[in-house]
């Protein structure tokens, strides 16, 4: 059987079809919807597992559909796409569970979960895209499917956030489209290939390629929240917690970052990009964003806003790792793609639990939270420490490699940036931890839905605990086979032709 041809399509459809069915479910069909959700998510994880096994044994999965002569819709599984696909499918499973618990009893759940599933299909599509056009298509699909999630609450504030989100992302998308078409006219089909495909073109169209790179990065930078294109992200945190988790950790922001990685490594080729001299400005922007996001996060009292600015900062690590020309920094950047996802999703899960169970939205209201909800707060703590880069948690591993890369490319300033950002991270996370664990609470909770005792619902609690365990595991077992780091090393070796 020609499973190879269809596997990738099935991976996409596993969530897409689920989403479509869910749209037509009655609001009350809670059990069926949950079942469908989990079934889709599990199926996707399993299929992705099959794909990884195949990729590992040098199997080529490719599906192709001709859109226009010379313009194909290509799904292809390579090591890089496997990385992102795994991240999104695994985290989707967790987030689905969380979202089921989080939205219990709220209106419009069928709509929510429908778009939720489609959003993940789009993300997987972004991961599996085999050329820039396919990437663009799924990238825009992602924008569209997340908009309803952002405005889900339907309040004035969330609608405004949604509008900002669309204005930013669609403008970015327009630039991306422009760049893609331009590049297409210069270089043809724009297939992603490990090691890059534009070395030939670069000799003739140097200045065009530089301009296109700038356009591409601007377009992608909107989603990756590079300064000054990050404005939508802190606003979009009005969305329900599972959505924020998804936006920040799995889907939108990551799609942007992943796009930057793809463009630099698999489209331009890192050597070509270095040769064109476009990496240094990107690194500069990323570095500035890292610091800027951290500084801004420092002054936010709203927990989710603080986390949002933290994302602005943290995601730029990926860009920084990508842009510092070097084997090691690439490892760092790519690892951070995964690690940041796990950590940030944990943080948002926990923020959601605090808001949902106790009505705690602000950092200043978190005093004594550790004693009230020790498990949730433990997960939060682990993720926050990981964000700071405290060893041996996930964040440390990626920062370590970015640091190694910075030194090996003689960019000592990047080490300073890393250190400064870590210090700022510590400055905005540690006080939270301190207040939550070690301060005595005087006031009552803003809105205690659990009536005095206990943690949130198990469906809320299990996902962050699982991801927090992952944060520990990927750090402690970083060198073990099949860890993200291991996989990233494998990718990077191919990219640099080692």
């Amino acid at each position: 059987m020609n499973l190879d041809h269809w596997l990738l399509v099935f991976i996409l459809l596993s969530s897409f079809v689920t989403g479509l069915i869910i749209f037509f479910l009655k609001e009350e069909a809670h059990r069926l919807r949950t079942l469908l959700n989990l079934f889709g998510a599990l199926l996707k994880v399993i299929l992705v597992g099959v794909m990884i096994a195949g990729v590992q044994s040098n199997h080529v999965y490719e599906s192709r559909l001709e859109l226009l002569p010379g313009l194909d819709l290509v799904l292809r599984a390579d090591a890089m796409s496997a990385l992102f696909a795994t991240l999104s499918s695994v985290l989707w499973l967790v987030t689905t569970l969380y979202a089921v618990g989080y939205l219990e009893g709220e209106p419009h759940r069928s709509r929510f979960f429908g778009f939720f599933s489609i959003c993940v299909s789009a993300t997987t599509g972004v991961a599996l895209a085999g050329n820039l056009i396919t990437f663009l298509i799924f990238y825009e699909l992602l924008t569209l499917s997340t908009y309803p999630l952002v405005v889900h609450r339907g309040t004035e504030q969330s609608l405004r956030a949604g509008r900002t989100y669309l204005i930013y992302t669609l403008s970015g998308g327009a630039l991306l489209l422009l760049a893609t078409v331009w590049l297409h006219t210069l270089a043809g089909p724009l297939e992603f290939s490990l090691g890059g495909a534009l070395a030939q073109v670069a000799t003739q169209h140097r200045s065009e390629l530089i301009a296109i790179f700038a356009l591409l990065i601007t377009g992608l930078g909107v989603k990756a929240a590079l300064f000054p294109l990050h404005g939508w992200l802190p606003q979009a945190m009005v969305a329900p917690a599972p959505v924020s988790a998804l936006l920040h950790a799995v889907a939108v922001v990551k799609a942007g970052a992943f796009g930057i990685v793809r463009v630099v490594y698999d489209l331009y080729g890192v050597h070509t990009a270095q040769d064109l001299g476009v990496l240094a400005p990107l690194a500069g922007v990323a570095a500035f964003t890292i610091i800027y996001g951290s500084v801004r996060a420092l002054f936010q009292d709203d927990l989710k806003r603080r986390l949002a600015f933290s994302t602005v900062s943290q995601v730029s690590y990926i860009a920084l790792g990508t842009a510092l020309f070097g084997y090691l920094s690439t490892i760092g950047g790519l690892t951070h793609l995964v690690h940041q996802g796990i950590m940030k999703i944990t943080l948002f899960f926990c923020a959601g639990i605090f808001a949902h169970t106790l009505g705690v939205h602000k950092v200043s209201e978190m005093t004594g939270l550790g004693l009230r909800m020790p498990w949730s707060m433990t997960a939060f703590t682990i993720a926050a420490l990981g964000m700071i880069g405290v060893p041996p948690f996930a964040g440390f591993i990626s920062k370590w490699y970015i640091g190694l890369g910075a030194v090996s490319s003689d960019s000592y300033w990047a080490v300073v940036v890393l250190a400064a950002s870590s210090a700022l991270n510590a400055a905005y996370f540690l006080p939270i931890l301190h207040a939550a664990w070690f301060k005595q609470r005087q006031d009552p909770w803003p809105a205690d839905h659990a009536h005095g005792a206990g943690e949130g619902h198990w469906m809320l609690l299990a996902p962050p605990l699982a991801t927090a365990a992952l944060v520990v595991a990927v750090g402690v077992l970083a060198n073990a086979p099949f860890s993200p780091l291991d996989w990233v090393r494998y990718i990077t070796e191919i990219e640099y032709g080692k």
């Binding site: 226009l68 339907g154 949604g162």
Partner: protein
């Protein structure tokens, strides 16, 4: 299978709706069924024709065997087949929708007008379809004139169908505009005949050379078609006429009727006048298109009513079609631009029909179409809002919709020929489209307890809108075949040597 391959499908495309027009006029009670059957029948005929053209290239058929110069010839190539397919698809969907729309007695305020509307809709619509199909198959410019007029009469009558003051006034203006446009066109035909003694498109194609007669013919015909095609600044008649018509009629007018004029312009420009047109004229038309995009979008942003917004969006979208003229100037990207605009026509037809149908559903359910008061409409009409959103996606040009593929090709042509101005315009137009589509969708997510009594909207009406919008979105994934088909019999002027 020989029947399938040899049957004169071209004739059936015209005869079926024409006879259906008479039948529906005679048998009013069965009119919806006859209408749907004829729409389906002509769809089958179009399918047969498409198979023939794909199989054996452009076709030509002499009605009654008279032949040139006195008889009427029909011809079909890639372009006309695509247009026919478009009209067939829209026809089926709109017929189904209309069958439901005009028999829905729930609409209390429409009781009086109901019977009257139902009685005249079907014959007029069938004549419209016949005129359209005839126009797409016409092989000579005079025949084009006649079908254009037939189309115009049917369209005007349909626009007046609602019978209300605004509708009648709009239809009157539409008629005057339409007639003057046709006369301009006819004058051009006369001049061409005076100069070259033939009206056959193919025969004329090689003959027309620059000169005062050709120039004036071009100017007259183009101007006539521009005003009939509602190209800025001659679009003034379109929004009231489209917005005040009954919903299925608005959809038809916006999706099909204005495209007919564009189709003719396309034929003339690339087949007849390819030796006459200059880059300056092309740029001028492009500038009109740019004006249309910006002006139409700006107007759409200011409209208080949903259907007017959609109508102005048509004005804006028609502007994109005008870009084909400047973008084909560069031989290297001519074919891309040409394919782009034809595909744009297809995508826009599907999306705009879906959008009008959805808007109609919303207006029907809410009892009004004031955008500001549409809060909570999703709860009542999730499918229609979804259809509106999906159609909006295609209008904006977001992937994977047909609009995306069309805009992709437009951009490709623009960038390929180094026309950065047009490229910027295309993107700016997309963002403006985002803005006006979002004006409506903004209200889709507001959470309001629906207190107002809402009219029930039949499922069929919702589904036909949704189906078309899905088609508009999926068009992006099946562009390869149509674009391939478009090369069949494509005018020589856009086939640059070496261009793939």
């Amino acid at each position: 299978m020989t029947l399938w391959n040899t049957a004169p499908w071209l004739v059936w495309c015209i005869v079926l709706p024409l006879s259906a027009g008479i039948l529906t006029f005679l048998f009013r009670r069965a009119a919806p069924w006859i209408g749907i059957a004829s729409a389906l029948g002509s769809a089958i005929a179009v399918a047969g024709l498409a198979a023939q053209v794909m199989h054996s290239g452009p076709l030509r058929y002499s009605v009654g065997g008279w032949g040139v110069p006195l008889g009427i010839d029909l011809r079909a190539d890639g372009l006309s087949v695509l247009m026919l397919v478009m009209s067939a698809v829209i026809a089926v969907a709109v017929s189904v929708y209309a069958a439901c729309y005009f028999s829905d007695t729930d609409a209390a305020d429409k009781h009086a007008a109901q019977a009257h509307q139902r009685a005249y809709f079907w014959p007029l619509w069938m004549f419209l379809l016949a005129g359209l199909n005839g126009l797409f198959l016409a092989a000579d410019i005079f025949h084009l004139y006649v079908t254009l007029e037939l189309l115009g009469f049917a369209a005007v009558s349909l626009a007046a169908l609602a019978g209300k003051r605004a509708a009648v006034v709009a239809a009157m203006r539409y008629l005057l505009v339409s007639l003057s446009g046709s006369l301009f066109f006819l004058f051009g035909v006369a001049i061409l005949y005076a100069a070259y003694a033939t009206v056959d498109l193919t025969a004329l194609a090689g003959k027309v050379q620059p000169g005062p007669l050709a120039w004036s013919a071009l100017a007259l015909m183009a101007a006539g078609l521009l005003i009939k095609g509602a190209v800025f600044p001659l679009h003034f008649w379109l929004p009231p006429a489209h917005a005040n018509a009954p919903t299925p009629v608005s959809a038809l007018l916006s999706a099909l009727v204005v495209k007919a004029s564009f189709y003719i312009l396309l034929r003339l420009w690339f087949e007849l006048f390819s030796a006459v047109v200059t880059p300056a004229t092309a740029t001028f038309l492009g500038l009109l298109g740019a004006g249309a995009i910006l002006w139409g979008s700006a107007q759409a942003l200011h409209q208080p009513r949903l259907k007017l917004l959609v109508a102005y969006s048509t004005v804006a979208q028609l502007g994109y079609l005008m870009l084909v003229f400047p973008l084909t100037q560069n031989a290297g990207s001519a074919l891309t631009a040409w394919s782009a605009c034809v595909y744009f026509v297809l995508a826009h037809a599907c999306a705009k029909t879906a959008m009008f149908l959805a808007a109609g559903n919303i207006a029907h359910a809410a009892g009004h179409d004031r955008i500001a008061d549409l809060d909570g409409i999703t709860q009542a009409l999730p499918l229609s809002v979804a259809a509106f959103a999906l159609a909006g996606i295609s209008l904006i040009g977001l992937p994977p919709s047909g609009g995306f593929i069309a805009k992709w090709m437009l951009l490709q042509a623009a960038i390929g020929s180094g026309e950065w101005g047009w490229a910027t315009l295309i993107l700016a137009g997309s963002l403006l489209a985002v803005a006006y589509v979002l004006r409506v969708l903004w209200h889709a997510f507001t959470q309001v307890e629906v207190a107002r009594p809402l009219h029930r909207v039949p499922r069929t009406m919702e589904w036909s809108a949704l189906a078309l919008s899905l088609l508009a979105v999926l068009l992006g994934l099946m562009a390869a075949r149509p674009v391939e088909l478009l090369r069949t019999g494509a005018p020589a002027s856009i086939h640059a040597p070496g261009q793939t």
